[in-house]
């Protein structure tokens, strides 16, 4: 594994919504195979940061560079719109908190997965159907539901379908925004287990935004703690959670209820 050159490099990223500063001067690097967690409470700028670095929201200031297979580290906002779209469809995956934003609710489960494959050029129906079936099984969805529409699925099933839809094109980097938010704990555990396995098996790099420190501990190698749009602490996940240095991180860690 080449860990010398980063897969993604973010430098001095700032984004303001009018007078409101959502992200201020954020810099970090993500290495291949690494899972980075972004934690902080609601309104700390986590989702804005994720949207900016996943080419879905042009930042007010700063640079986001991604290691393109053909060109090496490249400013993603200097790419043309079609190039950026292609990147989002092939090399990247985006798992949103609300599956409704990431799925097509009126297209069958199989179609939701197959659509991503077709977007990268797959044309043979049997191949697409076969791959879709493979992925539904990987995310533990009943194959008998392959022709059903996700609007008739439970929240946990929708979320697993969204993951299948994103991973079918074998992306190198996946962005996830609260992937377990709004799910029952038992469903959450199943999803976390699934994500852990897939990240390792596929050697994925991922950036996961979550307010849930237990989720962060389970999935992330490294953490960024955000408060009021600023990064207040970074480090290995277990360091940040077991020996937090910043006052805000200490408050976050000490506020978690023990079960």
């Amino acid at each position: 594994m080449d860990t010398t050159s980063p897969l993604l490099r973010v430098r001095n990223l700032t984004h303001a919504f009018g007078p409101v500063l959502a992200c201020a001067d954020v810099s970090f690097e993500l290495y291949p195979g690494e899972v980075l967690g972004v934690v902080g409470e609601s309104g700390s700028g986590k989702t804005t940061l994720l949207n900016c670095i996943s080419a879905r929201l042009a930042p007010t200031n700063g640079i986001v560079e991604y290691d393109l297979r053909t060109k090496g580290l490249t400013d993603i906002y200097a790419l043309s719109e079609p190039e950026r779209r292609l990147l989002l469809r092939t090399d990247w995956g985006v798992v949103t908190q609300n599956p409704r934003d990431g799925l097509r609710m009126d297209v069958s489960a199989g179609g939701n997965v197959g659509e991503r494959l077709m977007a990268v050029g797959a044309r043979h129906y049997a191949t697409i159907r076969g791959e879709a079936e493979d992925w539904l099984q990987k995310v533990e969805l009943d194959l008998g539901r392959i022709d059903d529409k996700p609007k008739h699925f439970s929240g946990g099933m929708q979320q697993r379908l969204q993951i299948a839809r994103n991973l079918v094109t074998k992306p190198r980097l996946v962005f996830m925004d609260e992937p377990t938010g709004g799910l029952d704990v038992s469903v959450q555990a199943r999803l976390l287990d699934l994500l852990r396995g897939l990240v390792r098996e596929l050697r994925l790099s991922a950036i996961i935004v979550t307010h849930d420190l237990a989720v962060a501990r389970l999935l992330a190698d490294r953490l960024i703690v955000m408060k009021d749009g600023k990064v207040v602490e970074t480090g290995l996940t277990d360091q940040v959670l077991d020996d937090p240095h910043h006052a805000y991180t200490q408050l976050l860690v000490s506020s978690v209820l023990q079960v």
Partner: protein, 242 residues
């Protein structure tokens, strides 16, 4: 081989650690100051001292789980080609620390951190998977350790959430010994075990020493400590010095 056994594996230099509790009026809790310690291959050092003297804090600092305020924790980190380099766990970049943890430094915590839905066998085999060991070999090694630590075969495919404290601790120990780490850090590995299982753990530690591992541990049980420790490092003296 005998010469190699004397090679230092850990060199702690002038390590200091103070906790600052911002949520509680910025209280400062100094734990140790300018602590130095060297541990050789094949040697077992027992951290000693009453509770609150910083034994666990030191052990966790060696694993880079805690971030010391100043000083160095040098560990001898080898690669496949038989070369080695010294990595400062107190200052290395996160991905370097992870690499050292995968290959060189193993840590057995006091309690198993249960992961929902993951069977005991996979919890034990996971560090081997992370090193790229083939699944068959990893599984065989995991099962061998679970059997040795008297975890009934019927429990291997179960997630340990519902296991007793002692059973969870044995799964945890099996996980810690899955990889033949050159450095082993043990936080009360025999705390909740009966005499039979304590003997198994003592044997595992003795085997690790025999293959040249440097071991640093906290052992509350006097008998266990006397049996496996070559040297005692008294933290209460360090505290007095601080």
């Amino acid at each position: 081989m005998t010469d190699q056994k004397k090679d230092p594996m850990i060199r702690v230099e002038n390590l200091s650690k103070t906790f600052v509790l911002h949520v509680q009026g910025s209280a400062r809790l100094p734990v140790f100051t300018n602590l130095s310690l060297e541990v050789a291959a094949g040697e077992c050092v027992a951290l000693y001292g009453p509770s609150g003297t910083g034994k666990s804090t030191l052990l966790r600092s060696l694993y880079a789980n805690y971030k010391p305020g100043s000083g160095h924790v040098w560990v001898r980190h080898g690669n496949d080609a038989g070369e080695h380099e010294w990595v400062d766990m107190a200052g290395a970049a996160p991905h370097r620390v992870l690499e050292v943890r995968r290959r060189t430094v193993g840590y057995v915590s006091q309690f198993l951190r249960v992961i929902p839905r993951v069977p005991s066998r996979d919890i034990v085999a996971e560090p081997l998977h992370a090193l790229g060991v083939d699944p068959e070999t990893a599984r065989a090694k995991a099962e061998g350790l679970l059997a040795r630590l008297n975890i009934p075969e019927a429990m291997w495919h179960l997630a340990p959430a519902t296991f007793s404290g002692g059973e969870q601790q044995r799964v945890n120990i099996a996980r810690g010994f899955a990889v033949d780490y050159p450095i082993l850090l043990l936080d009360e590995p025999t705390a909740s075990l009966d005499a039979g299982n304590r003997a198994v753990v003592v044997a595992l530690i003795a085997e690790a020493k025999a293959r040249g591992a440097a071991v640093v541990g906290i052992f509350h049980d006097d008998e266990v400590r006397e049996e496996i420790a070559d040297r005692v490092f008294d933290l209460s003296r360090e505290r007095a010095a601080a």
